[in-house]
Symmetry: C4
Subunit: 293 residues, 4 copies
Amino acid sequence: MNHLKPAGEGLRTRVFQIIFESDTPLAKGFDIALIGAILTSVLVVMLESIPGLRADHGAWFYRLEWGFTLLFTLELAVRLYCLERPWQYLRSFYGIIDLVAILPTWLALVLPGAQSLVVVRLLRTLRIFRVLRLMEFVGEGRLLIGALVRSSHQIFLFLFTVFMLVTIFASLVYLIEPAEAGFTSIPTAIYWAVVTLTTVGYGDITPVTPLGQAISVMVMLIGYSIIAVPTGVFSAEVIRSIRADRYSDEACPGCGYDRHEKNARYCLRCGTWLDEDTPDPRQGDDDTTTPRA
Amino acid sequence: MNHLKPAGEGLRTRVFQIIFESDTPLAKGFDIALIGAILTSVLVVMLESIPGLRADHGAWFYRLEWGFTLLFTLELAVRLYCLERPWQYLRSFYGIIDLVAILPTWLALVLPGAQSLVVVRLLRTLRIFRVLRLMEFVGEGRLLIGALVRSSHQIFLFLFTVFMLVTIFASLVYLIEPAEAGFTSIPTAIYWAVVTLTTVGYGDITPVTPLGQAISVMVMLIGYSIIAVPTGVFSAEVIRSIRADRYSDEACPGCGYDRHEKNARYCLRCGTWLDEDTPDPRQGDDDTTTPRA
Amino acid sequence: MNHLKPAGEGLRTRVFQIIFESDTPLAKGFDIALIGAILTSVLVVMLESIPGLRADHGAWFYRLEWGFTLLFTLELAVRLYCLERPWQYLRSFYGIIDLVAILPTWLALVLPGAQSLVVVRLLRTLRIFRVLRLMEFVGEGRLLIGALVRSSHQIFLFLFTVFMLVTIFASLVYLIEPAEAGFTSIPTAIYWAVVTLTTVGYGDITPVTPLGQAISVMVMLIGYSIIAVPTGVFSAEVIRSIRADRYSDEACPGCGYDRHEKNARYCLRCGTWLDEDTPDPRQGDDDTTTPRA
Amino acid sequence: MNHLKPAGEGLRTRVFQIIFESDTPLAKGFDIALIGAILTSVLVVMLESIPGLRADHGAWFYRLEWGFTLLFTLELAVRLYCLERPWQYLRSFYGIIDLVAILPTWLALVLPGAQSLVVVRLLRTLRIFRVLRLMEFVGEGRLLIGALVRSSHQIFLFLFTVFMLVTIFASLVYLIEPAEAGFTSIPTAIYWAVVTLTTVGYGDITPVTPLGQAISVMVMLIGYSIIAVPTGVFSAEVIRSIRADRYSDEACPGCGYDRHEKNARYCLRCGTWLDEDTPDPRQGDDDTTTPRA
């Protein structure tokens, strides 16, 4: 959100700093209060969905929901008010989420039932990452995401293979098993195959013929074994990321040792000065001494 | 498919380049259109298997299926037409798949029911790998497959052990549990044991006696723990593969040893200086000494 | 428990050494006997919970339970008796567990039903770690806990992401699926989503609409794939921990840097020769040159 | 079985070589035929357990079973006949398995029902490892077993923790859930907790109260996450084993580089001769030249 700029007045700038930044105590307090309000409003939606509670306290839930909607509408209005270019914010990631979070209640005035969509409000808790950003979570999150991105091609290949296997086995079992066992169509059989391959195993659809059970056993063993593929790929990537973070690849010009930590200035094996762009401080008082490899 | 050769005429060669190669825009477009047609035809087979849709739109599905079959038959005919040795292609991997993909519909004229086999058409999407080949997927897929191949012995040992455990526990539970609980035969008990060990857990057959439940608990804990084996083996292989980038293919000019790490400056077997572009630092102060292989 | 001190008399000190320490044969024997008694008492509580056994041998279970409670009360009394500051122990981790382990039976005199809580007695088996402490388990346990602690931030991020996914998918399926399928409220749908994402798959609540099943398939594939994240992170941490044996604790005499690899001969920060028992080879041909920090 | 010695006669020695060794074509053929017979006899036991097949072909199964039992009894007799010390073999691992594999059928003459135990015959397929021994499986199996043994302490700690968690959560849910939901005793609740924690999820016993479901969710998330522990530990061990196999820890005396492959004779960075016990062949014709670091 660094690209956002406050409208150029005193009050607006101060409000901007509280709402959009997180580096003053007040701004941090605002962020935490906002996340608290978001979580509470999500909790209210969840509790309202429980039939018993809705029957007894329906009026309260209704008031609370409108309360939160008005609060979040006000917050969005203030956000837009103190920005130089409000439309830019409304088209940004957080702007869309802010809008989407208040829309369902307003929509429900027109379309009954739209209210249930209020749970999308949960997406607003993504703002929590703004608070986390101040802590040391970010580096580690970035490391994880980096590893995921670098292994994404391999994980795509893996999921493609899984999808092929699932479709082929599903079609086979669909041909073999009677419809009474629940295999009423190929899409249903695919649902069963995913349930089986991922080792979820609901048991709502299970093979009843010996041949169908034999194929199930194959699907299970495949699913049980190939989980090693994404795990191995991702593990290797995390290990590579951690190591790349710590060690430099450059070899010592003196002895060639090439596992120096990035913060090393002297070779740990032969004592040669490693930073070739800067003079070795050891040579400051005695020009004739050169490091020896 | 590099071994395939076009028949030596102008038109045939041009068609060959479009159908069998992927390096011109037209050839790439053909590949993508073909994969689109294959996926659509598979989708049609899937939708047709849904009873409701088949009842309402059966005639349409029938026409679509024949349409795709004729299209793929035509495509195969053109493929064979522009080849020097058509039989060679028909016996190749992709040739067999192409043939198998159109057979079921033609067979259904003679044998009703053969139509369901049309899903084997899905195998044709393997052609997608020809398009992927142009992208960077291949190196990574090869890395994964290489790691799988190198860990295959260990995974075979693992699966053999799993099979032994499964059979022994299945026989035990078959002896303990009453047939009413679903353990009607040893093969069924093996099906149950695989369902349990792979943590799928359908729940269609579950132990009802305390002793049977105790053995189940053992099977579950074993299944939960030994998944670490293929995962660990495969992780180690992927890490080894990534690190294998460490090695150069170039042979030592002295002794011919060819598995030097890329950062090697001297041959680890005979001590010969490996970097032919730079002088050996050992020779700086004593010109008459040369490394000996 | 090193901070505990015996009350200063002969008998009390001797009892203290038996009860609170583990380095004499008698003290070790006491520990083992105590753990035996704890496990037996837990076993009794378990067996008593089986309706058939309780009906037949209820009186025996009652007597055994009181026997163990009196035994443990006596043990706690002796513990407190031989300590200089008994209250300090009662507020410690093991003191609270000791108290909590005997309370339920005494409470049951006043509040019927409190007896079932006797299973908390199991927590007393944590004392087993005192015996294990003497063996080589500790270093490895500490390595595991260290790896867990260091990867806790990343695992927290992972669980937070899982929670977000679970809530969003649960809300979606709650909107789509009819209440008759079991999705009666959002909290219930969250229960279903966790059952699915973690690949447990009870099957007590399963989607019945095609759209609900399609979303389930996505949840399953996500759950099946992202297990790679904590596994990869933890694997990398364990490998890093094992490799941390690589580092020496000794500080450089020149600059005080104290994270040198064990094979380091020169300080990576200031180039000082680290091995004080051997002369620096750099000084062999030029005695007047000394490394400078 | 290297410690076994043939009885000292010509025929016995020749039979010994066929039965107990695997290095001649005849001995290998005997091993493979034996494993074939064992697998067939196990298959017969499995098929016999299927009610439909037993009803139709019971007489045949009876004859086949006696055929295999007589065959294996004869084999054991021949084994004992050609050994110097038959009792030594009978008390060995394979001897006990051989005896146990034929006992059930003989026992069934006296005790009806003992026949089902014939499946223990499956243990005889362990002999397959004798054939595998000749192939390259052994090194890899040993690597896996070595890694398992070295990580066994940590896996024991892990299973102990799992057992503690399972018992505590099981007791909690037993107190919370009504007996009608299936939680009839603490042992049954433990069975449920293992089913849940290992992500098997039969669904034969599931929580019905909101509090019970909340605790289930915790058990599932714990089970889903802590699988990372044995996987990480074992992965790290396998990686350590592979590396320990390939690299030596010793540093080069010239430059200190310490990641030399075990087969290295010259340092790959500075060309120094690494094997200090043998003279450098390069110095054979020119005594004044010494490698320089």
